[in-house]
């Protein structure tokens, strides 16, 4: 797939465009998220601080309320009925109190009014051991109890003890005890914070017990919040991932903690929105870039693909294809040039083909003419040889008759002359026979009479016997060596003898002294026959020439022996048997001719 230029270019462009966008977007989103988280912590700290101030103000207000009763209205010195009425009025008008109790310095309750149960005189008790009252009496300061759950009220309360000074003694004569409802803290403080979805503010004690919350159920259920060690990102009251801040508030010796939290999603909403938008823009950019890239790449690659297809068609020999593209840009110019080039190439190839056809036709004609001429020549030579041989045989025979005295007595001088005539005629007859053979061979008319039991040794012996007559008067010895395991050959016995006779007679003709060795041995699936002489030798440059028709060496020409056809005929005959004829020789070092003949040539079948 990635071998496609289109896909590679498309991916490359998209990666180059989108990756930087994604990286930048991610960095911006992360940076924004961190900044927003920090800002959110600051905001939660402000919210917790503000709530603490409101909470403190709430209790200060309660303290002032009670102090006005004791110090301004002189609650402690009022008649019991008036005390009850004013406390009932306060209880009625101020929902922050659950219970108001007036206690003597010795701890005896004189009035107790609650928002729930009606308290009668018989219900009043002595609270001498109450540490809160003791603290108020001893310190003459407002003191607070820990936050606790009141079963009757079924809500969390905190008790304030306000000492009432006896103006005559300066001592604390009575204590006004007020149970303050945290439910109203929720109503007065928490509900007015205008919190958004995901935000929460609540009050806990030192142990994390939720004592005021917008949802009173959490207070009633005695929910415990595990206070973290620091402000920041933590698990919130509802087990959500939140950013929270804590702010303590001191009520006398009691410490409460205001916790303000917002969900992390809320805190980083802007960053999330930014991330979301970045992703959307990235995706949109991916789509747009992808579309543009595909379009652009297609504009670039499509012509290349078209050029490639047309080039392939040209490679396959179809020069008719052209690129169809109507564009004025560089690619359009390239295509125009390519098409023009293709036109030129097509014309050139057409021209070449025409020339080749013409030349081929001319060559064919020339070849036909040559073949015809050669055939005519061969026919002529064959016919001529035949026409020559017939009368020549008559001449030889009749001359022999005459020289032998069959037609009358001849003298010695006449016999000598007639004998020369016979020899010359025989030489001429041999020449004609050779010409006839070479003509048949070159005309493709040579026919072998194939036999499967040709005894090479016998043919060698016959050739040697014939050659010995040529050695008369020369100090040349002829020796024949034949291996014992020489097999019978398949071939034309007459033609094999003719080959051997040519080689042996050549050796005999040109060797003046020394020896001639005729030797045959098996070499694999063939038999190699060697005719080695101690004659004048043949120069290396003449090794091939002597196998050409009518070509002779300088020695051959100077001695006037031979026709120049014996070796070409021998080589052609050997080749007709599937064999070869070659030589090894140097000038003045004798010559060795080799004939290799296959024992059973596969292409020759015995003639029926």
């Amino acid at each position: 797939m990635f071998n496609s230029l289109r896909i590679r270019l498309t991916l490359l462009f998209i990666i180059l465009t989108i990756v930087p966008l994604i990286v930048v977007g991610t960095l911006i989103a992360r940076q924004g998220s961190n900044t927003l988280e920090d800002q959110s912590v600051d905001m939660q700290e402000q919210l917790a601080r503000r709530t603490s101030i409101s909470l403190g103000a709430f209790f200060t207000e309660r303290q002032n309320e009670l102090t006005v009763l004791t110090d301004v209205y002189g609650l402690g010195s009022m008649a019991p009925r008036a005390q009850k009425d004013i406390l009932l009025t306060l209880l009625s008008k101020q929902p922050a109190y659950y219970e108001l109790t007036l206690v003597q310095a010795d701890g005896q309750e004189t009035i107790r009014l609650t928002r729930g149960e009606v308290v009668t005189t018989s219900d009043l008790t002595n609270r001498a051991g109450d540490p809160l009252i003791q603290a108020a009496v001893e310190t003459a300061e407002v003191s607070f109890s820990p936050v606790y759950f009141n079963e009757d009220a079924r809500e969390r309360l905190i008790t304030m003890a306000v000492p009432i000074e006896d103006l005559f003694t300066g001592l604390t004569g009575q204590v006004l005890i007020a149970q303050v409802r945290f439910l109203t803290v929720q109503e007065a403080v928490l509900r007015n914070l205008g919190l958004a979805e995901g935000e929460d503010v609540y009050v806990v004690d030192n142990n994390g017990l939720v004592i005021a919350h917008r949802n009173p159920n959490l207070v009633l259920k005695e929910t415990i919040f595990k206070l973290p060690g620091s402000n920041g990102r933590h698990v919130g009251l509802s087990d959500d991932d939140v950013v929270l801040a804590m702010n303590p508030i001191q009520l006398a010796s009691q410490e409460l903690i205001v916790v303000a939290e917002t969900t992390y999603a809320n805190a980083t909403a802007l960053a999330s929105d930014l991330t979301e938008r970045t992703m959307l823009i990235t995706f949109a950019a991916l789509l747009v870039t992808g579309a543009v890239v595909i379009f652009v790449v297609s504009r670039v690659v499509s012509p290349i693909i078209k050029v490639s297809r047309v080039a392939q068609a040209i490679q396959e020999g179809d020069y008719s294809k052209r690129i169809e593209l109507n564009r004025k840009d560089e690619i359009g110019q390239f295509v125009t040039v390519f098409n023009a080039m293709t036109d030129q190439l097509h014309s050139l190839i057409n021209s070449l083909e025409e020339r080749v056809t013409e030349r081929t036709r001319e060559a064919e004609e020339a070849r036909a003419k040559a073949e015809h001429a050669d055939q005519v020549k061969s026919q002529f030579l064959a016919a001529t040889s035949h026409e020559l041989r017939t009368p020549l045989n008559a001449i030889i025979n009749f001359t022999k008759f005459v020289s032998q005295g069959v037609l009358g007595p001849v003298n010695e001088q006449q016999v000598e002359a007639l004998t020369k005539s016979v020899n010359s005629a025989k030489h001429l007859l041999n020449l004609i026979n050779d010409v006839l053979d070479i003509s048949k061979i070159e005309a493709g008319a040579l026919q072998l009479y194939v036999e499967s039991n040709v005894c090479l040794a016998e043919e060698m012996r016959a050739a040697c016997t014939a050659g010995e007559s040529l050695l008369e008067g020369k100090s040349v010895k002829m020796r024949m060596e034949v291996a014992d395991d020489l097999p019978l050959l398949t071939g034309d016995k007459q033609r094999i003898r003719q080959i051997l006779l040519n080689l042996v007679s050549n050796a005999c003709k040109f060797t003046q002294h020394g020896e001639i060795i005729v030797k045959a041995q098996v070499d694999g699936d063939k038999v190699i026959t060697m005719v080695k002489d101690t004659g004048p030798g043949i120069a290396p440059e003449d090794h091939e020439a002597i196998f050409e028709t009518f070509r002779q060496t300088e020695t051959g020409l100077s001695q006037g022996k031979g026709t120049g056809l014996g070796l070409p005929i021998s080589r052609r005959l050997a080749e007709a048997h599937g064999g070869q004829v070659w030589l090894e020789s140097k000038l003045n070092e004798g010559a060795t001719f080799y004939v290799s003949l296959p024992i059973k040539p596969s292409h020759l079948k015995p003639t029926a």
Binding site: K93, R115, L287, V288, A291, I294
Partner: protein, 333 residues
């Protein structure tokens, strides 16, 4: 070329679609079976403040009283409730715990929030106040009847007899009566119980009222029709007998009312419903306590010749002065 242009156009359109997201509308609409008779205004106002806007994401279904026939009402009521259930009510809000218990038998496990209860454990509405345990939760009053009795003695310290009218058909009536009687003994006041079982009992009770009673003490589920109430007033006013009711709602003829503010309890109920609609289980939502408020009707007091002490007036959260109801009845110009 044509294909690449087509792809280009498709991808461009897709990109435009991507960068112009269509945010799905929140089509969650809650259906609330609203069976509150009094306090519905506060309930719905709080629901709106909490984000439940009628017609947008909340629908209220009501019981129709158009064809109210007492003898056939129970069957008609059940029929209408069943229709509400069939309409897919998500939650019911009922007047009281007694109503809620009766409703539960009809609606099964659908959450029910009661707007008022004196003792929901006694009525079987909840297992406990902190952990209701079932599909009912709501608001409990904060012992208003005892304090009401005490206030009566503070208004008229000479109070000796209180004519105590209560619905004998309600489950918690006996419990409340016992609590009131206990306090009455300490206050040296005699409670004269007058149980009401049928609508016909009202007139009998009025006619049989002892002459020397100081107050007529009405309790939950005691509803007078106009004629009977007129008959009651015809007897009480000449005898300087005051009538006291269970809530702080101003009503002609009622000298004093003490108890929860029904608008407030309606708002409380709305907040509980909000938590349930957000996924909380009623079984885990503790019963919340309602605050008590004091209403003094000086017009009714004057009609009955009762003088309200100033100390009581200072305690009152609402004071109805003469001319109040006439002003309400007169259309503003």
């Amino acid at each position: 070329m044509k294909r690449s242009r087509f792809i280009l156009i498709v991808l461009m359109l897709l990109a435009i679609n991507v960068i112009s997201p269509v945010y799905a509308q929140d089509d969650d609409t809650f259906v609330i079976g609203n069976l509150i008779l009094v306090g519905d205004e506060g309930f719905r106002a709080e629901m709106t403040e909490l984000g439940y806007v009628e017609g947008e994401n909340v629908t209220y279904l009501y019981i129709s009283y158009e064809n109210y026939v007492p003898e056939e009402w129970q069957a008609e009521y059940e029929k209408q409730v069943k229709a509400m259930v069939d309409a897919g009510v998500d939650i019911f809000v009922a007047n009281s715990d007694s109503d809620a218990v009766a409703l539960k038998a009809l609606v099964g496990d659908i959450p029910i929030v009661f707007a008022r209860a004196d003792d929901p454990v006694a009525t079987g509405a909840v297992e406990s106040l902190v952990s209701p345990g079932g599909n009912l939760t709501g608001i409990i009053t904060n012992k208003p009847h005892e304090r009401r009795l005490e206030v009566l003695t503070e208004i008229k310290p000479e109070t000796k007899k209180v004519y105590y009218l209560y619905s004998a058909m309600t489950l918690e009536a006996g419990v409340v009566l016992e609590q009131v009687q206990t306090l009455a003994e300490e206050l040296d006041v005699e409670i004269i119980p007058a149980p009401i079982t049928t609508p016909e009992d009202y007139m009998k009770i009025v006619q049989n009222m002892p002459e020397d009673v100081d107050w007529v003490f009405l309790t939950p589920f005691v509803y007078f029709d106009e004629a009977t109430f007129d008959a009651l007033l015809a007897i009480t006013e000449p005898r300087h007998i005051g009538i006291t009711y269970i809530v702080d709602m101003p009503m002609p003829g009622y000298v004093m009312g003490y108890g929860p503010n029904l608008d407030d309890t309606g708002r409380q109920a709305a907040r509980i419903i909000d938590r349930i609609l957000r996924g909380a289980s009623p079984a885990d939502l503790p019963v919340e306590t309602a605050d008590n408020f004091l209403m003094i009707n000086l017009e009714a007091a004057a009609a009955s010749g009762i003088e309200i002490p100033e100390s009581i007036l200072r305690q009152a959260n609402t004071i109805i002065r003469p001319g109040y109801f006439e002003a309400l009845a007169t259309p503003s110009s």
